[in-house]
Every structure is written in C-alpha cells, then in structure tokens.
C-alpha cells in the first residue's frame, strides 16, 4: 500500500518550492502525490449565475494545475488531482474523510496568506491529525526577511 502525500493549495498558484519538496519527499518515501486545490466560494441560491461561476473556476483551476502535474509526472512520481470549490476548511475535512490516510500534507498555496492569523488554516492542527509542512527557500538563498507566524522558529505557528 503506497503512502500518500498531499499538496494543498487554496489558489490557482502552486509555489515552486512546495512542488519541488513534495516530489523529493515522495521519491524518498516511495509515495504518491495527491494535489488538492480548494477554491473558496460560497454557493447560495441568491448568487446569480453561481453555477456558471463554479464551472469557470473549475476550468481555470484545471488549466492552472496542468503544468505542475506534468512536472510531477515527468519526475516519475504518480500524481492524482482534485479540485473542490466551497468552504476550504470544510472541503478539506470532507476530502480527508473520503480519501483515507495521508503521510503528510505540504502547503502549496501562497506563503503570505497562510501567515495571517485570520487565514482558514489557522488552528487547523486541532482538526487535522497530520503535520502540515510549509517549505520555504532558505533565507540565505533569497533576499529579504520573513515575518509573521513562521518568523522565528520552525514547526510552531505563532499564537
């Protein structure tokens, strides 16, 4: 039974370092990659044309992840992908309940948004039993200082 590593994002953009790290980790652990894109959207009966909007989002997301998926496949790691639209936290929990166990979750979405306390991933560790790994390029390899929840020490999200 293969281990599964999830790359999780809440936008069309997937960070390069997250893709690189997920591929490297999957190769080391002989795992398959599961790319999960959660696009925030509140579907209500009152929203005009909401079904069309959902379909457009779906198509745009599928286009955006085509290249990363092809990169992953080229590296020899099996990859599956899913796009969910709705409340990201709720959709993630439902996806985890449906999909069985993952070895790790790698955050592939924006690094600035996740740094905010109001972000939907805030306190996610209370609901999700996995470590959510956030890869960053080492400070010596990029200019500028990081700030926010990950500023001082690895592993701990700032209160």
């Amino acid at each position: 039974m293969s281990l599964k590593i999830m790359i999780l994002s809440d936008s069309f953009h997937l960070r390069t370092e997250a893709i690189r790290y997920s591929i490297a980790l999957a190769k080391r652990l002989d795992a398959v990659l599961v790319l999960l894109i959660l696009l925030p959207f509140e579907l209500t009966k009152k929203t005009p044309g909401s079904v069309n909007t959902v379909l457009k989002l779906q198509t745009r997301a599928a286009d955006a992840i085509r290249q990363p998926i092809s990169d992953m496949e080229r590296s020899g790691v099996p990859v599956e992908s899913t796009i969910r639209i709705g409340n990201p936290r709720s959709e993630l929990l439902k996806f985890l309940a449906e999909s069985g166990k993952f070895h790790s979750i790698v955050w592939g979405g924006g690094s600035d948004s996740i740094n905010e306390k109001s972000h939907w991933t805030s306190n996610l560790e209370a609901d999700v039993k996995y470590s959510v790994l956030v890869p960053f390029i080492k400070p010596e390899q990029e200019s500028g200082r990081r700030s926010g929840r990950f500023s001082q020490q690895r592993r701990v999200r700032k209160e």
Binding site: S104, E125, D127, L133, F136
Partner: protein, 451 residues
Amino acid sequence: MVQNRILIVDDEAVTRKNLTRLFEREGFSVSSVSTGFEALERLRDSPYDLVITDLVMEDLDGLELLLNIKTRFPNIEVILITGYASIPTAISAVKKGAYHYLEKPIRPEETVHLARQAIEKKRLREQVEQLEALVEKDLNAPTLIGQSSGMVEVLKLIKQVAQVNCNVLITGESGTGKELAASMIHSFSQRRNNNFLAINCGGFAEELLANELFGHEKDAFTGASSARTGLLETASSGTLFLDEIGDMPSSMQAKLLRAIQEQEIIRVGGTHPVPIDVRIISATNQDLKKSLNSGGFRQDLFYRLNVVSVEIPPLRERKDDIPLLANYFLNRTAKRFHREVIGFSDGAMEALKNYYFPGNVRELENIIEHAVALTSDTTIQLKDLPPDLSELDIFSFDQSGNDVMTLKALEQNYIQWVLNRVGRNKTRAARLLGIDRSSLWRHLKGSEFED
C-alpha cells in the same frame, strides 16, 4: 562519565606545559611526552582518545607519528600543530587520516573545541562499531538505534514490558520503527522461540482481514477448497503484531475483542471455538483516544490492547540520534555497495541535523543510501544530499503542545460522537444533546464541518 584522555607530543617544554594546563582546566585527563617514540610507547601501554602532536620534531616527526598511530591504533584521533610554513604538509596529513591541524600560535578556545569534536567523532565511531557487532552477532535480532534520552527510555520500557505477558500498544509517526519495536519486545520475551507474525490492518478489505486473522473452514466460501488457519491461531504461543490498528473496521474490532477476552477464535464458516494463546502488540500513528471520542474505535478494545503503551518519538524530537543513525546507515550501505565511504563532512551532517524528517528514520535511511551510491568522495558532502535539504527550510504546524483540548474542541468532538451514534440524524442528535435543531446547526457551522 568517561574522562577524555589526551596525549600531547611536543619537543618544546613550554608548549607541553601550556597545553597540559589548558586541557586539565577543561576537565581532560592529560599526559605529555617530548618525542614520537615515547608517544608510541605510551599508546601501547595506556588507552587514549586523542593525540595532539607537533609536526616538526627530531627523530620521528608528526607525520611519521600519525602514520604509525593510524596503522597500530586506528581508533585514536590525531591533531597536528604546525607553523605557517608547514601548512601544506599539515593538509596532506589530514588527507592521510589526521582529524585536523592547528596553526601556531595556538588559540585556546579553538584548540579545546577541536579536541572535543575529535573525541566525539571517536566515541561515535565506537558506538557504531558496537552496534554493528551487536547486529552481526545475531543477524535476526531487531535493534532500535538511539542514545537520546527519549530513546533510552523507550528501549528501557521495551526490555521491561517484554518480560510481562501483556498486550502492548506502540504509537509513533510513520517510519519511526514501530514494527522493529514490536519485534524487539518479542525477541526479549519468553515467547521468542515461537512465531512473530505481523499484519497491516489498513491494507485489507473487511472479509479478507477476517480470513487472515481467523482463518476459514473448508467450503466456508466459494474457492475455500481446504481449511486454513488464521494468524491468531498460527501465532499461538507467540506474538501477533497488528499494524495500523486504528484502521481496523468496527465489525472486526468486535471480533478481535471477543478473541482477546475469551482467548479463543471461531474460523470463518466454522462453529467450534479454537483456543489460542497469543500476545498482541498493536501499533498506530493515529490518535486513538480521539477515535474513541468520535466512536471510530471501541473503548473496550482500546483498553484491552493498551495495557502498556510505548511511544516512539519522531526523529525531529531526537536530533541527537541523527549522527549515530546516519553513521550506522552509512557503514551498512558502504559495505553493501562495496564503497569506501567513511563519514560526513561538517556541512552534510549539519544539513541532516537541521532537516525536519517527516518520514523519520526510514527517510534518513533512504537519504544516506542515495548519498553513498552517488558520492565520488570518501566522505559524504553536502552536494551528495538531496538539494532540498540545503536549499529549503521546512516549517510545520503540528499537534505538539496540544495535549489539552479546548472546551470548544471537546464540545465539537462530543457532537460528532453523538451524530455518529444516531447515524448522523440531526433531529435525533439534537434531542439527545438537549438542544434544538437550529442550535445544532449553528454548532456544526461553527466547526466548519458541514454535512
């Protein structure tokens, strides 16, 4: 604690005196001699960890002394002291096996630091050799490797619990060595001469798992042309390791509970109970207590399995073990691949120590095997390790420090447990909880888990 023993070799009395005073002040046991020949005599008579020798001496110089030491006492580390003019010679000495060289004038802090590092390297090598000897002595003996305080406690508990014939629950992240721990418990126990069988409960569909655990009678189902014993029966008088016990379906949990309580099983399609005598060691990387609250795992079975629990810490929480484990895997792989690779550069070891290791020991083993296979050097360099180790920082939000559940989390768990009990019927759940349906909806909305 073992005192670190240093032998100083220098033909200048002042240098010998100064170095002796410096190292004694730092708690080392120090001897000194003025010639290379005297040094070899001392090494023959007494054990030393480190020789610090001047490079330029009459009769036997530092380089000749180094070669003699490496031939006759290969485990002793050597540091050379040299003047500026002899630095190229000192560098070639390092290539011939010296730990390092010190340039005159000697700086006390740097000297003591270097000596400590050299002795630490010697001790590490000795530990790895001991481990290898242990493994070679009995190739079948499982061994968990670690000298950190966390692992020392785990190993102590494993040896203690092995002597008691009780069920054990091993917890720990994937790749920490849970099966190895179970195997160790079996090999230290009175049951060691009988079977140790293992099964991954998450890898089978329910019917298949029942068949594997309980066996079946002839004609129990289409294709069952003969009777077959299950693992619980085959492991009788021995140990059965149930990996990923948290993934066992509820109906199987009930059957396993009955087998443990009654110490008997009924084969699939059978009617007669078969007595068993089996010790069950189970393992999980899940929080089973959380599953108890949500109704995913039976409480009565949990307490039957968890008579004693052994928790194996993740590698990132026992970074002190990384050099020992890395050297152990390095020696083993180098032998297997017939490669002359003897250690790690400081940069490579630093990168390993700083990495997060979500895949734990299994991931470290994989990294070292790749590095040994690919390196063109006699020591693993930073460039031989996966690039992500040196180029990326891995941060994580995990569950550490979350031992105490918040009132809100407890409330949500309870609501989910009640919902599961009533087949997720919200009206019945609300009635049981003593709240109206709209309040329940608000609670569920608050938990972000919308059905």
